[in-house]
């Protein structure tokens, strides 16, 4: 630093306009980052898992596709139709079919041989709004990937 420049700094104000602009920018970035990281996120569903009797059978990521666990490869079938994918899982307890809506990024149980009333087919689609789809007789559970499902009562 030259002698002139050094004198300018030494003789100048502690905070210059440019400093204040930098601080304001940092404050804005800080607030944005806080909002991004700390506010609850009501996001689209990124994917879901299907479990049978507590063990994971498959994972479906909307941006990554289907991943079936070993031992279930011959028990899972898929059919592309109606703008989405029908996934049918056959277990020792029965057969369940769910529909993956690729546009809405949601999944819904569409058929099951579990009982006369087929309660699971009337449960709300899993769409990032919380909850889980449960078929008690067939011990099937569809939950969001990467976390515990939000609690649902009813």
């Amino acid at each position: 630093m030259s002698g002139k420049a050094f004198s300018r700094v030494r003789g100048g104000k502690f905070f210059k306009r440019a400093d204040i602009i930098v601080y304001v920018l940092i404050a804005v970035v800080s607030i944005v980052l806080l909002l991004v990281f700390l506010l609850p996120k009501e996001e689209d569903l990124t994917g879901f898992e299907i479990t049978y009797d507590g063990a994971r059978v498959l994972t479906y990521e909307f941006d990554g596709g289907l991943d079936v666990e070993d031992g279930y490869l011959d028990r899972v079938s898929i059919e592309k139709n109606d703008g989405g994918v029908y996934i049918t899982l056959t277990t020792d307890d029965g057969v369940n079919t769910c529909f993956v809506d690729l546009e809405r990024r949601s999944v819904k149980m569409t058929d099951a041989d579990c009982s006369v009333s087929k309660d699971c087919t009337y449960m709300p689609a899993l769409d990032g709004d919380g909850g889980a789809i449960i078929c008690v007789p067939n011990r099937i559970r569809i939950i969001p990937v990467g976390g515990i499902s939000s609690p649902v009562t009813g």
Binding site: Y23, S30, L38
Partner: protein, 395 residues
């Protein structure tokens, strides 16, 4: 030079603060939960439903400890609760089944869990003027809501059975007799001495129809899941698991704290959604923690005859209730009590605001319910979101 150094130092300090705040650590109740792992364990073995514990753990070691707790304490606790409280257990194994099989006037030895459950039932029976009544086992069987009707192997075997019990209504003489029998629940007494716990069936705890005697019988489905949910949540807390929730069939839940939510003002809150009975979606959402939740209603385990819904909750007249309360949820300290109170609220109805008036008077409880007259209307004293835009009355 000194000022330049100071300015640079200030900028560095601010940057460090920003980076720290923006995701290096998340705190709930003073605990850093940023590295917590979500774990869900489920079983379908008890209460004819799915029971799940959904817990955030701090490490793989904690996950292993939870798994051990699940297999060594939680599952045995659920098994013991079902055996004790279910009317379908063998009488030599289950306390409630033993009471049901007992003769009028008999003193029945029970385990402490069943003793406390019957004690709770007697309390709520009195508080609700009989709107909650667990002595409806005979009526439930009469109307086709016991196990033998639901397992697909039903065949008429009792005097009051019909060929198709979900389309043919029972004879009135049985309806009246079993309603009269249920009223005798307030004659049940409890005894405790140094050697054990006892429930005594009243001397007049029977009715006779066409020469056949039917004795007073309990069906604790109205609180059994709540009892189980409370017990599992207590086990989690006793063992240091503070983040997560327990669900027994979705109708009984106990919320601890949510490690995935750190928002200022909402630290640790779960967003609990209540199922919409009309379309299967969710009609209400409430943010809460450290609270139990229960829901009762007539949209599940029910059938329709002549345009009227007959559900598994029996009214004081011995007939499945038809009060217009489609679903009622209660948030409060005990899942077992929430279970009993929501059942009572369905029976009380809303014609004169009975259910909401009752719930409003309960200390530390908040309610939300749908009452259907011309259109579904939400009645609530709970803060939350109306997700369907139904008409709403705030208490």
């Amino acid at each position: 030079m000194k000022k330049a150094v100071l300015r640079s130092a200030l900028i560095v300090v601010v940057l460090v603060a920003v980076l720290s705040a923006a995701g290096c650590a998340y705190y709930v109740d003073g605990t850093d939960v940023s590295g917590y792992i979500p774990v869900t364990l489920t079983t379908y073995a008890y209460f004819d439903c799915e029971t799940s514990v959904n817990v955030y753990v701090a490490s793989e070691d904690e996950k292993e400890r939870l798994t051990v707790l699940w297999s060594e304490k939680i599952l045995p606790s659920l098994a013991a609760a079902e055996t004790s409280l279910s009317c379908y257990s063998a009488p030599d194994e289950g306390a409630v089944a033993r009471f049901n099989a007992a003769a009028p006037g008999e003193r029945v030895e029970v385990d402490v869990r069943a003793y406390e459950a019957v004690k709770l039932c007697l309390r709520v029976y009195a508080e609700t003027d009989g709107a909650f009544n667990p002595a409806t086992a005979r009526s439930l069987d009469l109307w086709g809501f016991t196990d033998r009707f639901l397992n697909g192997a039903y065949a008429p075997s009792k005097e009051y059975d019909r060929a198709d019990p979900h389309s043919q209504l029972p004879e009135q003489k049985y309806v009246t007799a079993f309603a009269e029998l249920a009223e005798k629940f307030d004659g049940v007494t409890l005894e405790e001495d140094g050697s054990g716990f006892y429930v005594v069936k009243p001397e007049d705890g029977f009715v006779t129809v066409d020469g056949v005697e039917y004795t007073l019988a309990l069906e604790l489905g109205g609180i059994g899941k709540g009892v189980a949910a409370d017990e599992v949540a207590a086990l989690l807390k006793e063992n240091g698991f503070e983040f997560g929730y327990v669900s027994v069939g979705g109708s009984s839940l106990v919320m601890l704290a949510n490690a995935a939510r750190m928002t200022s003002g909402k630290e640790g809150l779960f967003d609990v959604s209540v199922i919409d009975p009309y379309n299967g979606g969710h009609y209400f959402r409430h943010y809460c923690r450290d609270v139990a939740v229960s829901t009762s209603g007539n949209y599940r385990n029910s059938y329709i005859v002549g345009g009227r819904t007959y559900s598994h909750i029996i009214g004081k007249d011995g007939v499945p209730y038809d009060t217009g309360v489609v679903t009622a949820s209660l948030f409060g300290p005990s899942a077992a009590l929430c279970d009993a109170y929501t059942t009572a609220m369905c029976v009380m109805g809303m014609a004169g605001g009975e259910a909401s008036d009752f719930a409003t008077k309960l200390k530390n409880y908040r309610y939300v319910l749908i009452y259907e007259t011309n259109e579904p209307t939400i009645y609530t004293n709970l803060s939350g979101e109306n997700l369907r835009g139904y008409a709403e009355v705030r208490g």
